[in-house]
């Protein structure tokens, strides 16, 4: 299900569903296209997260955008609040429960099903041209029950990044493409005093970036087709975790990030002692390795070749008071031109056809952009994020040699039963 071909088919299918949904759903609902921008009144609060690492830059981007929006919609008052990534689901759920929820929120796909009942689908608020302009995989990522629930604004492809300096030091000229390559190369790196990989195993790290890519590469998945049960304890799951176990036991993995998350600059990875990693985008390592040493590679292959890539999107919560105003704001922000500016400023990949390639020739983002077709957005399941909470500690138990892979995954699957609703 994770190959490129299936992906494209899926997207095409959802595009068809989407088209029919639009036809049927537009009826009585308020459509911003009809009302005059100048007449629209209300206030909109949006929560976003540190999508741009530099807070001041991020802030001023939104201040500028709000000003530009204000010229078109003088009656709408917009506030953008930047929340920390950490515990963001908690903050949002708490706010929803406490009736102090924002009107618009930045979501990634695996969050959407969990909040589906709190979200007002964005579909009717976007005009057809805007919808048609979206890349198919972006649309697929935010489509639930045939409707676009949120409006994509950015994408990423988190493939494999390797440190050229380390490869030069070891005298290795080829970069790993498969799991077997990793296994074969690792001893030489170890002998030269380097780690083959870094694995970010802290429980607060999302598994989308760490274990799930391996699981998908082994041909497995987190949930079964209809989402009634977890399947990470399949043979594929065991194979994926066994690879990690082997690498750890061979001392090919930097141990400082194995169960904890030290600040990046303190890690072996940042200090240039690690050959490759797949849990972070290459652009985040440039600062430490230098652009010339940061090599962006295609995702690793075992049974499948696949990596994680996100689609960031803006959704309107159903508790929003001024839905038309919120819809207009989302439509404005996700307009092709705005999106291009935002993507370029934040170093993310575009989600609109008309933008084309933003980073042609760029050794980092230009490379990452090539592999977007090989990415998946992670499990779209209501309990996706809760499941991570029970799975992550069990993976740690294997990494520190306390459990065998099958045992750990079975235990996690057992614990998952109380989470699945």
């Amino acid at each position: 299900m994770r190959t490129r071909k299936v992906m494209v088919t899926g997207a095409a299918l959802s595009a068809v569903l989407l088209a029919s949904a639009c036809g049927g759903d537009d009826g009585g609902d308020a459509n911003t296209g009809a009302s005059e921008p100048g007449e629209l009144e209300g206030s909109v609060t949006m929560w976003t997260y540190p999508v741009m690492a530099d807070e001041t830059e991020h802030r001023s981007f939104w201040d500028d955008t709000i000003a530009a929006f204000g010229e078109e919609y003088p009656g709408v008052d917009v506030t953008v609040e930047i929340f920390p990534w950490a515990d963001r689901d908690q903050a949002l759920t708490t706010a929803i429960a406490g009736n102090s929820a924002p009107d618009v929120v930045y979501f990634i796909p695996d969050q959407l099903p969990g909040y589906a009942r709190n979200i007002e689908p964005i579909d009717p608020y976007l005009d057809d041209d805007a919808k048609a302009d979206y890349l198919p995989n972006a649309v697929e990522a935010v489509t639930i029950d045939g409707q676009m629930v949120s409006a994509p604004i950015l994408a990423s492809a988190v493939t494999l990044t390797c440190n050229k300096e380390v490869f030069d030091a070891v005298g290795e000229t080829e970069y790993p493409q498969t799991w077997d390559d990793l296994r074969e190369m690792a001893p030489a790196f170890k002998d030269a005093g380097y780690y083959m990989i870094a694995y970010s195993g802290d429980v607060s790290q999302t598994l989308n970036l760490t274990f799930y890519p391996l699981l998908w590469q082994a041909g497995g998945d987190v949930f079964n087709e209809d989402g009634t049960d977890v399947t990470f304890n399949s043979d594929a799951g065991v194979e994926a975790l066994t690879l990690l176990q082997e690498m750890v036991e061979g001392e090919y993995v930097a141990e400082d990030m194995l169960t904890a998350m030290p600040p990046t600059e303190q890690t072996q990875l940042a200090q240039g002692n690690v050959a490759c990693a797949w849990h972070t985008e290459g652009k985040n390592l440039v600062e430490f390795w230098g652009e010339e040493n940061t090599v962006i590679l295609p995702p690793l292959t075992n049974v499948e070749q696949v990596a994680y890539g996100t689609v960031g999107s803006l959704a309107m919560l159903s508790s929003a008071d001024d839905k038309d105003a919120a819809g207009a704001w989302i439509a404005f922000v996700t307009d092709a031109e705005q999106v291009a500016t935002y993507n370029e400023a934040s170093g993310f990949l575009p989600v609109k056809e008309s933008i084309g390639s933003l980073y042609d020739g760029d050794p980092i983002l230009g490379e990452a952009e090539k592999y977007t077709d090989l990415t998946t957005v992670g499990p779209l399941h209501e309990d996706a994020r809760e499941i991570m909470g029970v799975l992550a500690p069990e993976i740690q138990a294997v990494l520190i040699g306390q459990k065998e892979p099958r045992q750990a995954l079975d235990d996690a699957a057992q614990a998952a039963q109380s989470v699945l609703r």
Partner: protein, 302 residues
């Protein structure tokens, strides 16, 4: 919202009202340690002081180093300093906001707790009214109930009242402080009745009597209790973490914890820690006596 500490069995603490009779005033040299013992004591204390102070030293020195990898032992030497980490942490507008939130949370709570608990403590100590004993002891029983049991219902209450991510929502529940009521009542009870009754006979209104007689008399306990409540709020973590989730409503402790989880460089997080620590440290230097009395009296980690 008081962490449990049962002081009803009288904490054997340094007392705030009146000095204990000191028996150890007469010098008797033989009880003093000899020279080798003195040297041993000096060495032990010196080592213990180093171990105690090392985390503070590390925090300050690392905060003053250029942002980057920390390599031992070079990173611990007190030269090659730079203000980069401080510039970065102060550059983010949030730190000032967090400091402001912490101040609001601490100061308003201190004023509220002192005011309400002194009113109640005065009534419990010097007034007679039906249901007094039952009421007082049910207040005191709350000392037995750990703060963590009530945190869920209190959160549900505050959340339904729209108090999540507001200052009042954060402060209000912490004003119900059983410890403070108990200590106030004990203190006021120890004051002679005549002081109050003279005023009653003079025809003082109750309110004026509270303001002009009671408040001046309880100044010592106001200071100690105030310092303790302040310290407790300044360092409080779990409740602000739950009720102040937005970036704008974080306090210094929850903000720094989020920074720590956000992959901010260590030097910068430590610079933030220094900013959070300095005010309380300065206050400690000035009012050490009150800190020690406040904390020991209440038996609680601030």
């Amino acid at each position: 919202m008081t962490r449990i500490a049962d002081t009803t069995t009288s904490a054997p603490a340094e007392n705030s009202n009146g000095a204990r009779p000191r028996r150890n005033t007469r010098p008797y040299r033989a009880l003093e340690p000899g020279r080798p013992a003195r040297i041993g004591r000096g060495v032990l204390l010196f080592l213990a002081a180093i171990v105690t102070l090392f985390p503070f030293y590390a925090m300050v020195v690392l905060a003053l180093k250029p942002v980057g990898p920390i390599i031992l032992p070079d990173s611990l030497v007190p030269w090659g300093l730079s203000l980069e980490a401080f510039e970065r942490v102060m550059g983010a507008r949030t730190l000032l906001r967090w400091t402001f939130n912490t101040l609001i949370y601490s100061v308003v709570s201190v004023v509220g707790v002192l005011f309400f608990s002194s009113l109640a403590g005065y009534a419990f100590a010097k007034k007679r009214f039906p249901g007094k004993e039952v009421m007082f002891w049910s207040f005191i029983a709350m000392l037995m109930v750990p703060y963590h049991i009530t945190i869920v219902p209190v959160f549900i209450l505050i959340s339904n009242a729209g108090g999540v991510n507001t200052h009042w929502g954060m402060i209000l529940p912490t004003l119900a402080n059983a410890q403070a009521v108990f200590l106030m009542r004990q203190f006021i009870k120890s004051l002679p009745d005549e002081l109050f009754e003279a005023a009653t006979v003079d025809g003082c209104s109750e309110w004026r009597m509270y303001v002009s007689i009671v408040v001046p008399l309880i100044k010592p306990i106001l200071a100690t209790l105030g310092v303790f409540v302040f310290l407790w709020h300044w360092n409080d973590f779990l409740w602000p973490l739950i009720v102040g989730q937005s970036n704008d409503m974080r306090t210094l402790t929850t903000g720094l914890a989020s920074m720590n989880a956000e992959n901010v460089p260590l030097n910068v997080v430590l610079a933030g820690s220094v900013v959070a620590f300095v005010p309380i440290f300065m206050a400690y230097l000035v009012g050490q006596r009150y800190f020690k009395e406040g904390v020991t009296m209440s038996g609680i980690k601030g």
